[in-house]
Symmetry: C2
Subunit: 336 residues, 2 copies
DNA sequence: CTGAAAGCGCTAACAG
DNA sequence: CTGTTAGCGCTTTCAG
């Protein structure tokens, strides 16, 4: 920039003004500066600007895995909102490892991101408190933070499974199984709750042998299926608590050449091409990402408390995103 | 950092030494500094450090769409390699828009990324020349750059389709259709070439009416299918040039309750669960991302020309990643 | 082993 | 409308 100033025969500040599109610059000088910029291939250093302005024009996005379709769609939605704010996004995968989550989050903070969107992997997030007090707003997505208060964007998990069970009930099922994730996981607990509530509303007793809570790997899922289909009155329908479980169940059913009514939680890309088509309770990762990003930028650009345009320090907000039941066949199979 | 120094009663430089783990610091002072750091919740400002050192510890990754499974897997692989180098990655989606690609690439450069990995959307990349000359290494992935020379990581597209056609030939097909993407797209051209070569090697005449080059949307694909299946000697097998086309074909075949031997280029998540299972020529996006990232860091950390550990200014390299044929059923359907 | 001074590239605050 | 000065937070250089 010094060079540009010299080449154009003006001061540093004038170049700065031109670069930042400030008014009050003589047209002649402006064109001279622009010419020098083009000639020298000058590109302003955003890092240096950030140092001065206290804003980096970046946000951090911490997911379990950027390669997982759910998160990659969420990610794209965050990117689009960030783009509207001239902001770039750092994305990182925690790989469900709390230590790695923390390491990444703090690395983002060292880069002085203007804000952080986090899908929690760990159960404790107090390590973020100093950063939050230092002015970095944090929004949690998909799951609440462990031991702090902050903005959140969640799926209506309970409502989702309730809807799924209601659907199976409406198709005549009374023995409905549920295979959910490990109970430590927030979403797993909420989804199980919806399952129980739906049964209760229908006046059907909750039965332990119809429910399994286990990690969504093929082995646990196969074992869970065994349990469900054994005994004198086996399940005639099944609700899967997450998409990986759904995939494991589908593979296992294909292997056994067995079939039962099936509703998955969270959609799968090619669900419509399976036979029968896969009925799901669909989440909306794009809406979650967009909501989280909007909330974050509201905090980042937020005015004083009570400001109409957004409040940087107001009380924490929780946004709940609804689910949608998509009937494609598998959930409409009648009981035998 | 100033505050830490004051609190610990030492100079700025000593704190800097401790933070950077330099040797030659008195143990007593070191612990005093570490205590102050913990007390004040101090976190070094990576941007300021970068300003001084001329390195930001970031790289930019420019894809068509971070939400596309192919790219999100590639993305994760880049992230893992970057992690080994203590580097964070900015990811951005060009949405196949050359203007947006350029805008993003230059925004990354303003953030002074240490390097850039680009999946080209546009046909011209000379706009990157000044940045490359200024010392930002760029690696292109999946497609070559438009009008400059640079490192690249490509799929063996030609070999891939050759393999797919050979597979169908081996299963007795002689009328093999090909639906590929628009010919302007590099990969589309390469894949078509492989198709032709395979037919030629088998001594089968290339027939225009068996080939369609069109965007992979449902309408064009349906029209292409019409052409292939019409006439006196319709295609008995089909090779799809990309995964979106494959999905469109599968939907269209399901709608028509038609069937023919099918091999897709690029794998689909649930390909094994379809009926029949989907036979594909699989690319390896993770290997592509990892190779690109390794190449990039070789340039970033590269020594002088000829250096064994990597050469920052050596001649451009092209890495070709092979494909793998995965037979699952659809590609083994015999001709009627 | 430690510290003081200079400066990375830029902009805020204040002159002219 | 334009320029000067100071300093963002850190590291490099060189002197103790």
């Amino acid at each position: 920039m010094k060079d540009v100033a010299a080449a154009a025969g003006v001061s540093l500040k004038t170049v700065s003004r031109v670069v930042n599109g400030e008014a009050n610059v003589n047209e002649t000088l402006r064109t001279a500066v622009l010419e020098s910029i083009a000639e020298l291939g000058f590109r302003p250093n955003a890092g240096a600007r950030g140092l001065r302005q206290g804003r980096s024009g970046t946000v951090g996005l911490l997911l379990e895995d950027v390669a997982d379709p759910f998160y990659s769609i969420l990610s794209r939605a965050v990117e689009e909102v960030a783009r509207e704010h001239g902001t770039m996004v750092f994305a990182g995968s925690s790989a469900e490892d709390p230590a790695r989550e923390r390491e990444l989050a703090l690395a983002f903070c060292e880069r002085r991101v203007d804000g952080l969107i986090v899908v929690p992997a760990g159960a404790s997030h107090s390590y973020l408190l100093p950063e939050m007090r230092a002015g970095i707003p944090v929004v949690f997505v998909d799951r609440p933070p462990g031991d702090i208060e902050a903005d959140m964007v969640l799926t209506d998990n309970t409502g989702g499974t309730r809807r799924g069970v209601d659907h199976l009930l409406a198709h005549g099922h009374r023995r409905i199984g549920f295979i959910g994730d490990a109970p430590e996981i927030y979403t797993a607990g909420e989804r199980l709750r919806g399952y129980r509530e739906a049964l209760e509303s229908a006046g059907i007793d909750f039965s332990d042998e119809l429910v399994t809570q286990a990690p969504p790997n093929p082995e646990s899922t196969a074992a869970a299926l065994d349990r469900l289909l054994a005994g004198p009155s086996p399940a005639t329908a099944l609700l899967c608590g997450n998409s990986r479980t759904t995939v494991s169940v589908l593979r296992e059913l294909a292997r056994r050449e067995a079939s039962l009514a099936l509703v998955g939680f969270d959609d799968l890309e090619l669900g419509d091409l399976l036979q029968p088509g896969l009925t799901v309770v669909a989440q909306d990762p794009a809406a979650m990402g967009a909501a989280a990003a909007r909330l974050l930028f509201q905090r980042i650009t937020g005015g004083p408390p009570g400001d109409a345009a957004g409040d940087a320090s107001g009380p924490t907000q929780t946004i709940t995103i609804g689910t949608r039941l998509i009937a494609r066949g598998s959930g409409e199979i009648p009981p035998p």
